[in-house]
């Protein structure tokens, strides 16, 4: 029996364990018959100089791009990893249905999920995100990471910016679910910028349901509280 899978990408500083251990997605996944694939956030042990200097760049902060700049471009190819290498690995080792794939993520992982879906129309049946970085070229995190991985040419950054990609998206209809904690410090510090994405999607008529959850912050308790809704959201499309 082919099982559908949902890749769930984690955010800055996280490893694959964060989602596996803290999101409590197993119950809902099991109920809907979905494999959860939880990749890491960056390559590990590359011994690249400076990779461990910041928590928001390098190790644990791959930003799901294929780096074009040295010394990152050899190893920091998280975009290809997530969209090509990892699915192949899963499909050949698990009874997964290669056609039934969805993607989801938190924070930086949310950014990763959004861009993978927007850059690969039709590849993912659905996409969802928790507190994603929606417009990285406009926020401090994104600017730091992109300039490091992609260089100074901002046009190359746009290739990995969900808001920009949404503005020029044409492809099969997506159904995007985004949950955002209202008391998220990164929201208030303008790192996440969901309004920009919403505006772009409204203009391009990309269906998004964006929920601002009162009282919730950026933590895994937030994910824990709403993960069932996300898995149900994916199940609707994966099991159709």
């Amino acid at each position: 029996m082919d099982i559908r899978k949902c890749s769930s990408m984690t955010g800055l500083t996280c490893t694959e364990q964060n989602f596996i251990t803290k999101a409590a997605s197993q119950q809902a996944a099991s109920e809907h018959g979905i494999i959860i694939v939880a990749p890491d956030t960056s390559p590990r042990g590359c011994n690249i100089e400076g990779e461990d200097e910041s928590w928001d760049f390098g190790t644990g902060a791959g930003f799901y791009v294929n780096a074009t700049q040295e010394p990152w471009k050899t190893n920091y190819r998280m975009y290809s990893y997530v969209t090509e290498e990892l699915p192949r690995l899963i499909n050949s080792n698990f009874p997964a249905d290669p056609e039934k794939m969805s993607i989801s993520g938190h924070s930086m992982g949310g950014h990763g999920a959004l861009i993978c879906a927007l850059k690969n129309p039709g590849k993912y049946k659905s996409v969802s995100a928790f507190a994603p970085i929606c417009n990285p070229i406009q926020c401090a995190w994104g600017q730091k990471a992109f300039s490091g991985y992609l260089g100074p040419d901002k046009s190359t950054w746009e290739l990995y910016d969900a808001t920009v990609l949404a503005e020029s998206y044409s492809g099969p209809e997506l159904d995007i679910l985004i949950d955002q904690g209202r008391d998220d410090q990164f929201l208030s510090s303008s790192q996440l910028l969901p309004d920009n994405l919403i505006a772009a999607c409204s203009k391009k008529k990309i269906p998004v349901v964006f929920r601002l959850q009162q009282g919730y912050d950026h933590s895994y308790y937030f994910i824990f509280s709403f993960i069932n809704d996300h898995i149900k959201h994916h199940a609707k499309y994966l099991n159709a």
């Binding site: 919403i198 409204s202 008529k205 269906p207 964006f210 929920r211 009162q214 959201h233 609707k236």
Partner: protein
């Protein structure tokens, strides 16, 4: 499966079990007694150890038990019916018995009276005759006595003369003798010369008067003349013999009386206490012992009685019977009927001003030519909740029933169980709303209509320009869609039936709704309950909204039906049944789409 088939199967099972025991030397005992096919006289006793029975056999045994139970129930209800019929018959017999007794009692009395009169007259004649005879006797006796007296006197006088003559004769004195003899001799001569009347003055025969018995004869003859008839007996109303404007009336005559014709009388029985004079009595002359009375009112009670007439006279009136015309047929209200996949709530108007006893609902699938029509009887009110099969179309009729029988069938209504069906309830609509003819679209036309032009009632919304729909009162799953214009500001959702009519939908704890607000910069969406909404942004404006209600899971969900996109779900434990609700906050229109099952993406 009939009783014989079941018994056959039970036989087979018993045999198999017996042979199994022999083979396996099972320790458990299965005792299986078979009763006869007549369930009412024998009871089945089955002690079966379910451990040693396979599921198939256990279910066969259960089936058999159920089958017998059903048979028992059927026969029991037939018996009850028979008992009721017999009771009715017995009470009618009682009435007949009493009337016959009365009739014969009266006849007896009449005869007795008659004969008493005859006897009296005879006695009188007899007495008269006796008196006449007596009189005769007395007069004869008187006459005879007179004669006797005279005779006596004459004898005495004669004797005296003779004595004096003898004395004279014996007188020695001849001189004296000669002196006295001459007058004596004259007297004797005189006396002897007198005629002695020796005839009886009266006849010894009595004149027997013939009494005048002509009157008596007449009276005797009149006993043999035809009497006036005895009172007839009204029969009780025969079931299903009445229509809504006519009654078939029957009566009987329990004697050998000759009857030329009957006169039937009837009068409307009115419960109206304000009527001072009783209703006028109508009558009809009839030759047979039955007739049909027409031009009556439906669902009305009539008092009827009958007299029998022949050449002699008119009988006393019969006891009065009460008959009832059947009601007028009810009127189904299709706009107020609602249905879902497996149930429907049917509503109707009575069709009669006075109450009826009950209603009967008849329904069947369309296209089945009337076979497989089911009936639900003894419905006490003007609505009925039905269990139905999904994905079918039914045709329904209803009848009103009173003691006279059932009315004609109402006009039919078609009910579909392909999904949730309902209409907007006009009597809840804010006066600024007008509904389309099919009850599925609402229009809010004039925002500036002055309040003085509006008629409110207790049931209409008076602040929120809203209207309610209706659902089958069953805690199941329901789905409907709402189509809106791009610039319509609306509220759609559900509310309790008694949600405050002076409040806005979603603004209280008795309603849940999705709200669309048009701001200069964007479309704003709220999901309101008790005035609170989560903060939700939706990028693609939903113009066809799917609403899904699931009582058992306690959820109310909204979808962009065109995109199959889930928008929001309320989690709420509904304490009562809820009804769909709709409101427009600005002039515009909103259309309801019903009759579809929830799409697959909604129901997992």
């Amino acid at each position: 499966m009939d009783v014989f088939e079941v018994r056959g199967r039970l036989d087979v099972i018993a045999e198999e079990l017996a042979s199994e025991e022999e083979e396996e030397e099972a320790t458990d005992e299965d005792v299986f007694e078979q009763g006869s096919s007549d369930v009412s006289t024998h009871t089945q006793q089955m002690k079966v150890s379910t451990d040693s029975l396979t599921p198939d056999r256990a279910s066969a045994v259960c089936d058999a038990a159920l089958c017998f139970q059903e048979q028992l129930n059927k026969r029991r209800s037939k018996l009850s019916q028979k008992i009721v019929e017999m009771e009715n018959f017995a009470s009618n017999l009682e009435e007949i018995f009493i009337t016959v007794e009365e009739n014969f009692g009266r006849q007896e009395q009449n005869l007795e009276q008659h004969y008493n009169e005859v006897l009296q007259t005879l006695l009188q004649r007899n007495e008269a005759r006796a008196a006449a005879l007596d009189e005769q006797k007395n007069s004869k006796l008187e006459c005879l006595y007179g004669q006797l007296l005279r005779c006596g006197q004459t004898l005495d006088a004669s004797k005296e003369l003779i004595e004096s003559a003898q004395e004279l004769h014996r007188r020695p004195d001849k001189h004296g003798f000669l002196q006295a003899v001459m007058p004596v001799m004259k007297r004797v001569e005189q006396f002897a010369g007198e005629e002695v009347d020796l005839k009886l003055g009266v006849s010894l025969d009595f004149q027997v008067l013939t009494p005048d018995l002509s009157e008596v004869r007449q009276m005797m003859e009149s006993i043999n003349v035809l009497p006036a008839p005895s009172a007839p007996v009204m029969n009780p109303q025969i079931a299903n013999s009445a229509t809504d404007t006519s009654l078939h009336v029957c009566w009987s005559l329990f004697s050998d009386d000759t009857v030329e014709f009957y006169e039937l009388y009837w009068r409307l029985i009115s419960d109206d206490c304000t009527m001072e004079t009783p209703q006028e009595v109508s009558q009809l002359k009839v030759k047979e012992t039955h007739c049909t009375v027409s031009s009556l009112r439906p669902n009305a009670q009539y008092e009827l009685w009958v007299t029998a007439t022949n050449t002699t006279g008119i009988s006393p009136a019969s006891e009065r019977a009460v008959y009832m015309t059947v009601p007028s047929p009810p009127v189904l209200k299709p706009r107020q009927c609602v249905s879902s996949l497996n149930a429907a709530l049917i509503r109707w108007d009575s069709g009669n001003t006075d109450p009826v006893e009950s209603y009967t609902l008849e329904f069947g699938e369309t296209g089945t030519d009337g076979s497989g029509t089911e009936s639900i009887v003894a419905i006490p009110s003007c609505e009925c909740l039905l269990q139905l099969q999904p994905q079918k179309i039914y045709i329904l009729h209803v009848r009103a029933v009173n003691i006279g029988g059932p009315s004609d069938r109402s006009e039919p209504v078609h009910i579909s169980t392909t999904g949730t069906f309902f209409h907007l309830l006009e009597d809840t609509a804010h006066p600024s709303l007008s509904l389309s003819a099919d009850g599925l679209t609402m229009f809010y036309l004039d925002e500036d209509l002055p309040i003085s032009h509006m008629t409110f009632s207790d049931n209409t919304f008076n602040r929120c320009v809203a209207v309610l729909g209706d659902l089958v009162p069953v805690r199941g799953q329901y789905y409907w869609e709402v189509e809106v214009d791009e610039d319509a500001e609306f509220r759609v959702g559900v509310a309790y039936e008694d949600t405050q009519r002076n409040s806005h939908l979603g603004g209280n704890n008795t309603s849940w709704c999705m709200r669309h607000i048009l701001t200069p910069s964007r479309h704003k969406y709220e999901f309101l309950h008790s005035g609170w909404t989560p903060d939700i942004r939706i990028t693609v404006q939903p113009l066809r909204i799917g609403v899904f209600l699931d009582y058992s899971r306690g959820i109310l969900s909204f979808y962009n039906a065109a995109l199959r996109q889930h928008l929001y779900t309320f989690s709420c434990h509904f304490l009562h049944y809820v009804q769909p609700c709709f409101a427009l906050d600005n002039p515009g229109a909103l259309t309801l789409r019903t009759g579809m099952t929830a799409p697959a993406y909604i129901t997992p």
